[in-house]
């Protein structure tokens, strides 16, 4: 995708004029009024199968002004500058800013031929139309007075330590720049009209080369020195060597010279082509740029590689190779744009280098140093870098598996291949063969693992097969293993085998699999990788929830919330340098083990890591997962990862974190100002190329829509540069901007602000200092200080006068209020005590004298505690020490009961409340003391009356029950009497049947007991005794009651049923009272059904559990209760009966309420009423 911002220069000029027109407010012109509009560079897909470099290309479509790059420098602020034939370009990795004669009038011409950055930071720009120098952000033309003519194009620049320059031109001129003057030197030896290459010798003298000619400047004249032995027609070029001296290419010979003497010579294996320039990079490679055959690299070992249009470049004419501070190589062409050669971190094997299948499921070491690659669709391959070859698996004419999911060579040398389509294959001495399906659980082999005892474990869709030598065992559901394809095996330090499948994590105990669960007994469901290590720690990669660390006694999670940039972890490898390499669905993450542990331990909240992806050479960011082995270490310590687009390998020993933090620049400040029209805004733009500036831009009144454009200069992966900003004066914290390079502030008020920005490079290395820009927004006059001070002073004056008046008034009112307060206190019916800060009594009313038995003057000065021991201290521990506390917390404090001590030593119950007061007399709290002696007495009376009433109701109930009770007693009495008289008769017979008499006596005894039982129940029910609350079984109570009322029910012709819930909890209650209630309810129900037909004389007593309560329902099928009376019936003296007193239900409700329960009535849907008693269950006590 290309995103080229096109804005015309005329717009920028208009804006510039507008900005200037506003009156010198716009700070600008650090580049002479330059307002440049950047083009945004698009990031192209970087993956090309160059084994060494990732090659990116920017052409005119990507924002270049013209499709060439003639020369490049990197300025101290970090920008890359390069020349094109249509302008000078500044590049920050994302945006191209183009300088041409239209926006930079000082540039002699827009065609840039060469660039040089000297040691003092001046940039020399050679154009078609002359030369200019940019120094301290000011342009200066190199004019004709120095002898430089417009037709002179600089071909080379050489610089001494002291900053003197030697400039050679294409037309054979040589200039020296020294002491701020440029002067032409005499023509060196060599062919006239042909360009020279300038060099600086070790001692600082000038050298020039042309073809085979070499000359040295002795300060006055050129001295021809030792000429290279070869005299060839081919042009020769030269460049500085990094260790001093110079490289020189003559024909096919690459020669290194020092002080004019040849110290090495290498004949290249092939003709490099038409050489244009030479360059030595920081790795010791010498690059030969040609104008016709691309670019060649001569490695220190002599290996020669060439890049041209066949393998990465779009044009074969190459002008320069330039290395930036981060080690990226920039290759400029004269028709194919700009290229970046970035050293690969990952080597990759994929479709573009002869792996015919994209999807790779498995990678593991092969015997002899290579690696197995299991592809999903094209079978097995083997890499012996850089070669890839197919490994045919076939036996007896039968084709081998094509969907390989797992490949493993064990210590015995056997190679196992697990596949989706053809089960398990193995190669031993006799060649490839397929393991018969009956020896394995089924097809779809997903995992292979060899444990420390040389046993090979294979997991498939059905279960697990363990190969131990020649024997094999199949383990499946009957061994405790849940169904599902095994994703990974691991062996812990104790030698136990662990595995994970979609159902969870399992551990082999030697006889069966035990499921491993978390502390909440939940299964570990989406684990995809296990990595065991010392101390019983198991690292687990999950498919959606980050990384887990299972350790004895705990489970730690590291996921997106704790800084990991991925959620799915399909592989975990560790190198020898203390780093974890995590295969994820977002690339490979490299993280220090101790950093990971610190986050897992909770010691750190932010995790530093490197996320490696396409820009590091990974063919895809999606690593293959769900199989084993999907990533592996080879014998050399390199790490291999299977991905959905091939395999990648990386040597951790070679890996270097990009430690150069990006330099940060604030480039532009854009804001809008309302016009006189008010509805329209006018936009202004300030460009800056250096920061921080001593000048603080000041924005006019009402400025809004403020944009700050900034950049972070890192060229390894500019799109991965991250930013944080903070606007001092508004923000207190850094804001994460991601990769955004513009900050917007819409409605800032007037004031001073400092905008700060900092950035991190692709490897997460931060430039903490960053950059900052201070700016101000001017206030309107009413927002200014003097205006505020002025109006403020006026207000203060007015305020002071008003305050004096108010204070005067207040004093008077305070006096009145104090008097009023005293009167109110005095008039109170309760004892009132005013307490000062020290807790001493300062004022009391006459009621207090009565309550405490002191005279007023005796009380004053006492502490409240002396009257009410523990009063204030307990109620407000420590509160009285601070008026604020009192004021804040005591208002409305609940009163509570205490014991007060009177002067005569007697104790009385009181209620006490404390309220803070503020008045002039220094009182702090007003304590209200209420003598509750009378209330207590009243409460006792009420309690006694209630008790009497309840007894009365019991007696009343006895009347109601009398018929029933008589019957209950009559039955046994009848039986006893009749039995006894029968016995008398039997005894009077002549032949006495003693057996009969014995039976009779036995019956008499049991009937007598039964009568006793009836009386006992009756006494219990009617006993006038203390209420005894204890756990009781509601069902038992109901059953007892039903026995008691049995006869009454019969009498009333009522059929009674019970439905008692099993396992009810006990309730804490007085059994007798509850039964009394039930008897009452049952009798009421009988009465209610008196007029009903026989089939409707049904009574149901049921019990049930209702949340924390036990519910008893007495349901009848009687006449029901009219809705308006449903609540009324519980009022005393309300009755529906002809002869009722109307006390039963009210007493019942009182009793139930005393048990913290509820009694209510409802009408049934069909007919009759239902009375419900709900009592709180006493939890933990089974009934």
């Amino acid at each position: 995708m290309y995103c080229v911002v096109t804005r015309t220069a005329s717009v920028s000029r208009r804006l510039t004029r507008a900005a200037l027109g506003i009156g010198q407010r716009v700070l600008l012109a650090l580049l002479s009024g330059l307002v440049v509009l950047p083009a945004v560079a698009a990031v192209r897909p970087t993956f090309r199968y160059d084994p060494t470099y990732l090659i990116d290309t920017w052409e005119i479509e990507d924002g270049l002004p013209e499709n060439s790059a003639t020369a490049m420098v990197q300025t101290a602020d970090g920008y890359l500058w390069f020349g094109t034939f249509a302008g000078l370009v500044r590049f920050d990795g994302v945006n191209f800013t183009v300088l041409t004669t239209s926006n930079t009038p000082e540039l002699p011409d827009f065609g840039i031929v060469n660039l040089h950055l000297d040691k003092s930071g001046r940039m020399w720009v050679s154009t078609y139309g002359g030369m200019a120098v940019l120094a301290q952000n000011k342009w200066r033309r190199v004019d004709k007075s120095s002898g430089w003519r417009d037709g002179d194009y600089a071909r080379t620049f050489a610089e001494r330590e002291n900053g003197d320059l030697l400039v050679t031109t294409f037309n054979g001129k040589v200039f020296e720049y020294s002491q701020d003057t440029l002067k032409e030197l005499p023509r060196p030896p060599g062919e006239a009209g042909k360009g020279y290459h300038g060099l600086v010798g070790l001692t600082g003298d000038w050298w020039v080369t042309q073809h085979e000619s070499v000359g040295r400047w002795d300060g006055k004249q050129w001295i021809p020195t030792t000429s290279p032995t070869h005299a060839l027609a081919a042009p020769s070029i030269s460049a500085h060597a990094r260790d001093g001296g110079a490289w020189m290419l003559i024909g096919r010979d690459l020669i290194k010279l020092r002080e004019g003497r040849e110290i090495s010579r290498r004949t290249l294996p092939q003709e490099p082509g038409g050489a244009w320039s030479l360059f030595e990079d920081s790795r010791g490679n010498v690059w030969i740029c040609t104008y016709d055959q691309g670019v060649c690299r001569i490695a220190p070992d002599g290996e020669m590689r060439r890049w041209n249009t066949s393998n990465g470049l779009v044009y074969n004419g190459v002008r320069f190779v330039f290395e930036d501070r981060e080690g990226n190589l920039w290759i400029g062409t004269s028709g194919g744009g700009l290229n970046r050669f970035k050293p690969r971190r990952f080597k990759a094997y994929g479709v573009e280098n002869n792996l015919p299948e994209r999807v790779v499921k498995s990678v593991s070491p092969a015997p002899g140093g290579g690696m197995w690659i299991g592809t999903y669709g094209k079978g097995l391959f083997r890499v012996d870098a850089p070669e890839i070859r197919e490994v045919p698996l076939s036996t007896a004419g039968r084709a081998g598996p094509t969907y390989v999911q797992s490949v493993l060579t064990d210590r015995a040398g056997r190679t196992w291949v697990g596949s989706f389509d053809q089960g398990l294959w193995v190669k031993d001495k006799s060649g490839w063969r397929r393991i018969p399906d009956q020896c394995v659980g089924g097809g779809n082999v997903t995992s292979l693992f060899e444990d420390s005892r040389n046993r090979v474990w294979m997991g498939d869709g059905q279960g697990v097969t363990m190969f131990d030598g020649e024997s094999s065992n199949i383990y499946a559901a009957e061994h405790g293993l849940a169904h599902g394809a095994v994703r990974c095996f691991a062996e812990d330090i104790a030698g136990n085998i662990w595995l994970t499948n979609p159902a969870g994590v399992f551990r082999w105990t030697g006889s069966r699999f035990i499921e491993v669960r978390d502390a909440e007994d939940k299964p570990f469901r989406d684990m995809s990788w296990l990595k065991s290590e010392a101390g019983g720690v198991m690292w687990m990669g999950t498919l959606s929830r980050g990384l887990l660390r299972l350790r004895p006694g705990g489970l730690d999670r590291i996921d997106e919330r704790t800084g990991l940039p991925a959620a799915s972890f399909v592989g975990i490898l560790e190198d020898d340098r203390g780093c974890f390499w995590l295969a994820t669905n977002r690339g490979v993450i490299r993280v220090l083990r101790r950093a990971l542990e610190a986050v897992a331990d909770g010691k750190e909240s932010r995790l530093d890591y490197q996320l490696l992806g396409l820009t590091d050479g990974l063919p895809s960011v999606e690593c293959a997962g769900g199989q084993q082995p999907a990533c592996a270490r080879d014998a050399n310590g390199s790490l291999w990862f299977a991905t959905v687009k091939g395999v990648a390998s990386i040597d951790p020993a070679d890996f270097q974190v990009n430690t150069s933090p990006p330099t940060v620049e604030i480039e532009e400040l854009i804001y809008s100002v309302p016009t006189s029209d008010r509805r329209k805004l006018r936009q202004f733009r300030e460009s800056r190329f250096t920061a921080p500036s001593a000048v603080r831009p000041s924005l006019p009144q009402g400025s809004r829509h403020i944009e700050l454009h900034y950049t972070g200069l890192s060229f390894a992966a500019p799109e991965k540069v991250r930013f944080e900003t903070m606007l001092e004066g508004r923000d207190a914290e850094w804001q994460d901007m991601g990769d955004r390079r513009i900050a917007y502030f819409n409605d800032l008020g007037p004031g001073n602000y400092v905008f700060r920005v900092r950035a991190a490079n692709n490897d997460g290395v931060w430039n903490k200092a960053g950059a900052s820009l201070a700016f101000a927004i001017e206030p309107f006059f009413w927002q200014t200080l003097w205006f505020r001070v002025g109006t403020g002073s006026l207000l203060v004056l007015v305020g002071a006068a008003a305050a004096w008046l108010i204070s005067h008034q207040r004093h008077r009112r305070a006096r009145e209020a104090n008097e009023h307060f005293r009167q109110v206190v005095e008039a109170s019916l309760h004892a009132m005590i005013s307490v000062n800060k020290q807790g001493r009594i300062v004022m009391v009313n006459s009621q207090a004298e009565t309550v405490f038995g002191y005279r007023r003057e005796e009380i004053i000065g006492l502490r409240v505690e002396q009257l009410i021991p523990g009063g204030l201290r307990e109620q407000n521990p420590g509160r009285l020490n601070s008026p604020i506390d009192l004021g804040a917390n005591t208002t409305g404090a609940a009163t509570r009961e205490l014991t007060a001590r009177r002067k005569d030593g007697s104790e009385i119950p009181v209620e006490m409340g404390v309220n803070p007061v503020c008045n002039g007399s220094g009182a702090l709290a007003l304590v209200c003391v209420i003598d509750i002696t009378a209330r207590r007495q009243m409460e006792r009376d009420v309690a006694r009356q209630r008790y009497e009433l309840s007894h009365l109701s019991r007696v009343n109930m006895l009347g109601e029950l009398s018929g029933s009770l008589a019957h209950e007693l009559n039955q046994p009495l009848t039986a006893i009497l009749s039995n006894a008289q029968a016995a008398q008769r039997f005894l009077s017979h002549e032949d006495v049947d003693l057996n009969e008499v014995r039976a009779i006596l036995s019956d008499i005894v049991s009937e007598d007991k039964r009568a006793g039982e009836v009386i006992r129940r009756l006494r219990l029910l009617l006993k006038k005794g203390e209420v005894q609350s204890q756990p009781m079984d509601v069902n038992e109570a109901v059953q007892d009651v039903m026995k008691l009322v049995h006869s009454d029910l019969l009498n009333h012709g009522v059929a009674a049923y019970t439905e008692l819930a099993a396992g009810l909890p006990a309730v804490t209650a007085d059994r007798v009272q509850i039964q009394q209630v039930l008897v009452n309810l049952v009798m009421n129900a009988c009465d209610a059904m008196g007029a009903s037909d026989r089939e409707h004389r049904k009574l149901l007593v049921s019990t049930a559990r209702d949340n924390g309560d036990v519910l008893i329902r007495v349901t009848d099928e009687g006449c029901g209760i009219s809705p308006e009376r449903l609540d009324l019936i519980f009022e005393p003296f309300v009755t529906t009966k002809e002869h009722g007193m109307g006390l039963g239900l009210s007493v019942c409700r009182t009793i139930v309420a005393a048990h913290a329960g509820r009694l209510w009535a409802t009408n049934n849907a069909s007919r009759g009423a239902c009375f419900c008693v709900s009592l709180p269950a006493c939890e933990g006590v089974a009934a």
Partner: protein, 210 residues
């Protein structure tokens, strides 16, 4: 027809009471049949039974008074002595109205109970005689054809033969034949005897036609 020994049916849902009362009556040399509910009694009783019932009132399902009503409707006529734990006035009234011979309250003294039983048995003597007679009349009446039964009702109403013939839509001669056959089947000699028998059997007369 020979007269069977009198039996005392004791019906009470309370097993202990049932057992004890039964024992007491047996000790007093009565034949006693104890039954624990009204239904059980109804399943057991014999129309030709002779004796009395000692009946509890408060029983689930069908209580004593209900049982009494049922038996009265069936024209059974075994005398009933109620024995109740708690006899209120309405119940007593209802029981007596329905023909109970006595109404005793629990606990009951043997003398009272046995006297009541004896009195009931004595009463049953008369009842039984009548029951036997009525049973014989009913047996004879059962031999009449519907037409003869119709003629009987007209005859005992005092209608003349020709009146009867007119009302039944036939001729006088036919009525004469029917009348003779009725007298023969019912084994009566005179019209007066026929009327008396019909009265005892409770056969209603035909209301006069205007």
């Amino acid at each position: 027809m020979s007269r069977p020994a009198p039996a005392i049916y004791v019906v009470d849902d309370e097993p202990a009471v049932l057992k004890a009362v039964g024992r007491l009556l047996r000790a007093a040399s009565f034949d006693v049949i104890t039954l624990s509910s009204s239904r059980e009694f109804l399943a057991q009783y014999d129309h030709a039974a002779h004796g009395c019932i000692v009946l509890d009132i408060e029983m689930p399902d069908l209580n004593g008074l209900d049982l009494q009503g049922t038996l009265g409707a069936e024209g059974m006529g075994l005398p009933i002595i109620f024995l109740t734990g708690h006899g209120d006035i309405p119940k007593t009234v209802r029981a007596i109205k329905q023909g109970a011979v006595d109404f005793l309250t629990k606990p009951v003294d043997e003398r009272v109970l046995i006297d009541a039983v004896r009195a009931a048995i004595a009463k049953d003597q008369v009842y039984w005689q009548a029951r036997i007679e009525i049973a014989e009349i009913n047996r004879r009446l059962a031999t009449l054809t519907p037409r003869e039964h119709e003629v009987l009702r007209h005859v005992i109403s005092g209608r003349l033969n020709k009146q009867t013939a007119a009302e039944l839509g036939t001729v006088e001669q036919t009525i004469k034949v029917h009348r003779g056959r009725v007298m023969e089947k019912l084994n009566v000699e005179s019209l007066a005897e026929l009327v008396k028998l019909a009265e005892r059997a409770g056969i209603s007369a035909v209301p006069p036609v205007d």
